[in-house]
Amino acid sequence: MSIVKIKGLTFSFSRKEEPVINDFSFSMQKGEIVGILGQSGSGKSTLLRLISGLEMPMKGTIIIAGTTVVSESVFIHPEERGVGMVFQDYALFPHMTVKDNILFGLTRLPRKERKSRVDEMLELVQMEEFYKRYPHELSGGQQQRIALARALAPKPNVLLMDEPFSNLDADLKESIRDDLGVILKKANMTCIMVTHDRHDVEAICDYSITLGQSNVSNGLNRVKLKTIN
């Protein structure tokens, strides 16, 4: 069964403008990691915002884990979609510690389970000893790991990552990229990652989609990069 299914998605910022995303269709299976490539303004980040419910499409349907989250007559709010997101600049809450940031999305878990879930996540991203720190006391790479832990903690159906490496310097980026691939596979997470760097996609993703002028009208250009285990 497809975990994410998109049919005929169309979006434009205003009715007068040309659509940024035009009649886009796509589906992915559980555990797949898909990279979205494209030039600036090709609608990569917009696609993530449409899946997460932060933007409203003009047309089309999005189904996540069998539930229609948006269609012509349905709109499910972002907080009810079961979608996790790692933002470009991580958006870690500056007034909360690392632990509180991860705890934030766990309100639906029984109290007893929350602590063990935080520990589990900190272990996954290998940041156990940093739980008391505030975001500004962490390096860029550490912040990214915590953002990842925070997004994974509520066990979302799908994880969306918007340019997750754009704030890191080149050396750090490579090692973190490898770690991220391992973490995502370990968590068996379905993930859509937006990037402008083909190397990111090659290192982590199973598939890539290129959005751009040539393919917006007819959907996408899907390239298989690896065989999924």
Partner: protein
Amino acid sequence: MNAKLIKRNLKKEINGWWIISLVGAVVILLPILFIFSSIFLEPNENWLHIRQYLLTNYVANTIILVVLTGLFTAFLGVTLAWLIAAYDFPLKRFFRWGLILPLSIPTFIAAYTYRTMLGYTGVVQTTLRNHFDYQMNPEWLTVSGIHGAVFIFTLFLFPYVYMITRAFLESQSTSYIESARLLGRKPLAVFYKVVLPLSRPAIVGGSVLVIYEVLGDYGVTSYLGIHTISTAIFQTWFGMYDVNSAMKLAAWLMVIIVGIFFLERLLRQRRRYHLSNKSRPLVPVKLKGMAGVAAFMYCGVVFLLGFLIPFIQLIAWAKMTFHKVWDSTFFTLLYQTVYVAVISTLIILILSVIVANVCRSHSSFSFIISKCVTSGYSIPGPIIAIGVLAIFISLDEWLAPMYFSMGLGEAPLILSLSLVMLIVGYFIRFMATGFNATEVGFEKVGTKYMEASRMLGMGVTKTFFKVDLPLIKGSLISGFILTFVEICKELPLSLLLRPFNFETLATKTYQYANDEQIHEASISSLLIILISILSVIIFQILGKRVKQ
């Protein structure tokens, strides 16, 4: 768009926050629409009398006051802004800040201070008579009539033009001014050919604020005996208890305001003022010798006249009357002022937060709502006051059967004699102050934390309390103080909408002055000024933060 899509899109937008915002906007717009609706009311005898014999005089006086004050404040504000932005001279850093201080003295306090100080028994003429044996024609220095009002308005309202123009010149105009200097133009030519035309939006922006203040003034004009549309609104209500004619006068005032608004838009058509995207601070030129002394003198005289002299005079009077005024009734007055200001400010801030949060979506609905809730600031106090009064009287009439069944008599005025009416008036007038401060806070934080929170399963309300509120609380505190101060200083609304026997610092000060107990008015005046200085300081800090 079909019905299904509209329903879906509404589902995304509509929640409790959205509905409260809509209600708030309606409450703010209602009195204004009520005023406009009065144009279609059947005119009564009072109105026919006003229209035939008085209206021309009211309109003429209002226009003369607006035009003269507008011209003089623009001149004073722009020349001072240019001196401070472009030149270095002794005490310039002090004047940069100090020239805002005249704004902390409410114009009606300035009017009675100057009138008494320069009057026959005032310190100036007495000193000249007793120490220099010089008998001056008392007419020469009398602050009265239109020229007196223009003098007061100019001296105490010019900081609006000064602040906005200075901020523009310091940050936006550098490349043009430097080009003009490099092209060999003399300072005066740079000022006339480049600075003045470029600063036009800033000058107009500041002048429009001054004009709104003048149009809404009741304190100065009534004290100096000038008949304007604003004073006429008060007289029609207090003298004739004729709310319909007062509303018709308010509608006339609104017509003038709308006229000014469109005139400004028309004049601005097809012109561009900002070509350069880069903003670099202007490097000031050092003024040497006589030029430096002249600049210092100019700023110094304005500072002395606009702040220091009246302030010292008030302190002197306060010392004389301290034992007489500073008693338990004064504390009751303070308590009442703080009480009503705190309640109104809290209501304003709560609604500001709700509306500003809705406006983060940047939809066309949120744009309209933000314009509606901030519209009260550009509408003079007397108009809001009469609109609110008319609505509350209608509400009381409408609720009369309910009052009767509750045993409160046949047609009692319950709501229109309560503090609620005053609080609603303050809410409409000062919503913009609270809203703007809150919006600055939200803009600084951006939407990323809110979006992250919603992606982690929190709804709009929980997100607000757990994420947004801790991050914007600094702006909310600034907004609270600014709104609180504005309410403490407010006069026309308080005079018209307060319940019987309810006094605020401003109304009591006005009452003292009106009863010619000028010295007794000084302590409450000083308190208002000190509270206002606090707001000037907050304004400075806010400005610095926005810059950062």
